[in-house]
């Protein structure tokens, strides 16, 4: 996948070039490209002077990093305890069947990615679904379709 990697050096310049910055750098890269392209990881290893194997370990250890391209709309279903008790599994099932996607997958037309997230701290409004940083609370089976259409 061809990307404009000029942005990368801009990202590197925002942080001290030490191991301590690694997670913050990867987060900025993910914010820019919606995922972590391999070339970005290789560049990060060079610029921060961290072995590539360690950069790769960090990228694969933490849930929020994705090494695969993600869709235009990333849908995150919260599966925290309060959301679970209030029917999060059902909401997830509904979304899976409406989009024909399993959790963790991206649609072929790259429009949607469905992910689960452990807890976003909006527990009093369970169940919660986030579409690209927009929070939806008290989601019901009856309004799932509308939620997916809204941007």
């Amino acid at each position: 996948m061809n990307h404009n990697f000029d942005k990368l050096h801009e990202i590197f310049d925002r942080h001290p070039k030490t191991q301590e910055s690694l997670i913050a750098v990867l987060q900025d890269i993910q914010k820019e490209y919606q995922y972590l392209p391999s070339e970005a990881l290789t560049e990060t290893s060079k610029v921060l002077d961290i072995p590539l194997s360690k950069v790769f370990s960090v990228s694969t250890f933490y849930n929020s990093f994705s090494l695969n391209e993600r869709g235009e709309t990333v849908i995150k279903v919260c599966t925290g305890t309060a959301c679970h008790i209030r029917g999060a599994k059902l909401i997830k099932d509904q979304i899976e069947s409406l989009l024909n996607l399993k959790s963790g997958e991206t649609s072929k037309d790259k429009k949607f990615t469905l992910e689960e997230v452990a807890c976003v701290g909006a527990c009093a409004m369970a169940p919660v679904v986030i579409t690209n940083d927009k929070y939806h609370g008290s989601v019901k089976v009856s309004n799932v379709k509308k939620l997916l259409k809204a941007k």
Binding site: Q19, K54, I85, A118, C119, V120, G121, C123
Partner: protein, 617 residues
């Protein structure tokens, strides 16, 4: 402009309060993550729009405050009019015009925006009369909902940084430590270790550097206490850290914020910036020679990073794997230097204790658990949200007096406390006081404050399975008892939920759990078996029914239940489109039927039926 001494702090305070005095009424719009999700920012825009177009006597944009989370998220967006305390809930942008005309320009109450008590169905006008708020003792949460979340001037105006000034100009490091120790403040993240003792151990170690880290990871699903505090009162967190840093001799601090809390990060960044501009962070603070800086380190999605040694590896930019803590992190922590790691809620209690004194603090709560605790009361309870109560209050008082009891009047079944490290307690234990030690004796724990209420439609075996699924996906994978042991526990729980349970499974679960608890490397593994062990302790019959009778009494475990449509079906067709496998057939106004061969027992039809026409058996 940098503040050079405490007098200047007072000057800022007085000037700000004088300016605010011009406004007889103030509007507090809750802008916590919950209310924002429900459209709070649209309300703020609507207010600003009106103020741009018209001049209103005694009210300008200075009297409009975007506050932190009140904790009553399900009722949001929330608007409170001070000083009266008029409380409007579920406010929409189109109501703003009315609020300005009736409640700001005049003194009228808008009935339809008032909160209705779910138990006695009466409308309540004032914030303090609502049972959810009435029984609370808001100390750590004192600023939430009362001040703007983005203004350092407002924080100072309402008493902020007075404690810091007192500490830097009048108290020695040891005096600070003694005061905090005397107060009995214990770690609010769940560990319950004496904060003052921790600081003392750290301070006494001679090292190149000392560090203060604020643990804002709040990984327990169902808990959002720290989120609200970081978003709504970021300066209180900073002030607590500054005092801790002074006490232990640290020059550098970090706030580790969970990746899933972007608003908290933004507010903390602004607060740090404002402090640096005013000279409250950086070199030679208040010209006392004390220097301290704070950086924010963001998590990236790993529950295990709430554990101290894993958190410190993550701060250092590494994989968040814990290490054996035979040498504690207070001795060898971040970069092998002595480090104090304190929870958000613990830290915001610090300035209050310095201000009001340890003796005052000790009067609250119980002798061994002084002070208050913030809980996140969620689940099947009517009033869900964030509450702060004195330690020693009973579970029953929390769930019924404050929480308003169970939704739809369904029977109470269990309350889960302490997150994935905690346990479930049944009705018989509801009169226990909540504190650091009592709940642990009965197989649960207070933990960080998550309290999830469950009714009879919750299956306890499913709850145990849920927590095991969570822990298995969050395990770092370093040690065998956690990585393989919890994995096998999950397999056993799943077997039981799927109707394949065998006689000796329960004994296997107990034995395996025992060994995992003894031999795991870190707290995640060591407390991992707690949910399944506590549900086994109090709900053994439910497990046996799953194993022997292959039935799920709560109607949850999909392999053990069936959904049927009853005769009272009106043919409204609401259920047909939501079935993911198209198992429902029927025309409008005709009885619908579920094809049992296709049905996956997901429960979507049951969730949308408004006529109680679907039976779960």
């Amino acid at each position: 402009m940098q503040i050079a001494n405490p007098k200047q702090l007072n000057k800022i305070r007085k000037e700000y309060l004088a300016k605010q005095d011009q406004y007889p009424k103030k509007i507090m719009v809750c802008c916590g993550t919950g209310c924002i999700a429900n459209g709070a920012l649209k309300l703020v825009d609507a207010f600003r729009d009106i103020l741009k177009k018209r001049k209103i006597k005694g009210f300008t944009v200075e009297a409009l405050k975007e506050t932190g989370c009140h904790g009553f998220c399900e009722q949001g967006p929330l608007v409170v009019i001070e000083p009266d305390g008029t409380f409007y809930s579920k406010v929409k942008a189109k109501d703003v015009e009315d609020i300005v005309e009736k409640s700001i320009k005049k003194d009228e109450i808008i009935e339809k925006l008032l909160f209705t008590d779910p138990v006695d169905k009466k409308k309540i006008t004032k914030y303090n009369d609502i049972s959810f708020f009435k029984y609370q003792k808001r100390i750590a949460l004192k600023n939430l909902g009362k001040i703007s979340a983005h203004s350092i001037d407002e924080y100072i105006a309402y008493g902020g940084y007075q404690a810091l000034a007192k500490v830097l100009s009048k108290m020695s490091q040891d005096e600070v430590i003694q005061e905090i120790t005397k107060s009995g403040l214990r770690g609010r993240g769940g560990g319950g270790f004496s904060t003052g003792r921790k600081w003392k151990i750290c301070k006494d170690i001679k090292a190149e550097a000392h560090y203060v880290i604020c643990n804002g990871d709040e990984g327990d699903p169902g808990a959002f206490m720290d989120r609200s505090i970081m978003e709504g009162d970021p300066h209180a967190v900073l002030e607590g850290m500054m005092i801790a840093a002074y006490a232990i001799g640290a020059k550098q601090g970090y706030i580790y914020v969970r990746e899933e809390y972007p608003l908290a990060v933004t507010h903390l960044e602004k607060a740090i910036n404002d402090c640096e501009n005013l000279g409250l962070l950086g070199d030679n603070i208040l010209k006392t020679g004390f220097s301290f800086s704070i950086k924010i380190a963001r998590g990236a999605g790993a529950f295990v990073c709430g554990e101290s040694s894993a958190l410190m590896k993550s701060v250092a930019g590494e994989v968040g794997e814990p290490r054996a803590k035979y040498i504690r992190s207070v001795v060898k922590g971040l970069y092998d230097q002595p480090t104090v790691l304190n929870n958000v809620e613990t830290l915001v209690n610090v300035p209050i204790i310095i201000d009001k004194g340890a003796d005052w603090y000790k009067k609250l709560g119980t002798p061994k658990s002084s002070g208050t605790k913030v809980f996140s009361l969620v689940g099947k309870v009517r009033n869900t949200g964030l509450i702060e109560v004195p330690m020693g209050i009973t579970l029953r008082e929390i769930i019924y007096d404050i929480g308003g009891g169970i939704i739809d009047n369904r029977p109470f079944k269990a309350v889960q406390t302490g997150g994935p490290s905690g346990g479930c307690l049944p009705e018989s234990q509801l009169d226990l006081p909540v504190d650091f030690d009592t709940l642990t004796e009965v197989g649960a724990m207070m933990g960080s404050g998550g309290m999830i209420v469950m009714d009879d439609r919750t299956c306890m075996v499913d709850v145990a399975k849920y927590f095991l699924e969570f822990l298995v996906s969050e395990s770092c994978g370093k040690c065998v008892p956690c990585r393989e042991g919890l994995f096998q526990l999950l397999k056993l729980a799943t077997k039981i939920c799927e109707g394949r349970g065998e006689e000796d499974d329960l004994e296997k679960i107990e034995k395996l759990s025992d060994n995992i608890i003894l031999s795991s490397l870190c707290g995640l593994g060591k407390s991992g078996p707690n949910p399944i062990m506590s549900t086994l302790r109090y709900f053994k019959d439910e497990y046996i029914t799953h194993i022997k009778d292959k039935k799920c009494p709560a109607g949850v475990c999909r392999d053990l239940i069936t959904y049927e449509i009853l005769d009272n079906c009106t043919g409204c067709t609401a259920c047909k489109p939501v079935c993911p496998v198209n198992a429902i057939t029927g025309n409008k106004k005709e009885l619908h039927v579920i094809d049992q061969n296709l049905c996956t027992q997901c429960g979507a039809c049951f969730a949308v039926c408004n006529f109680d026409a679907i039976l779960v058996s």
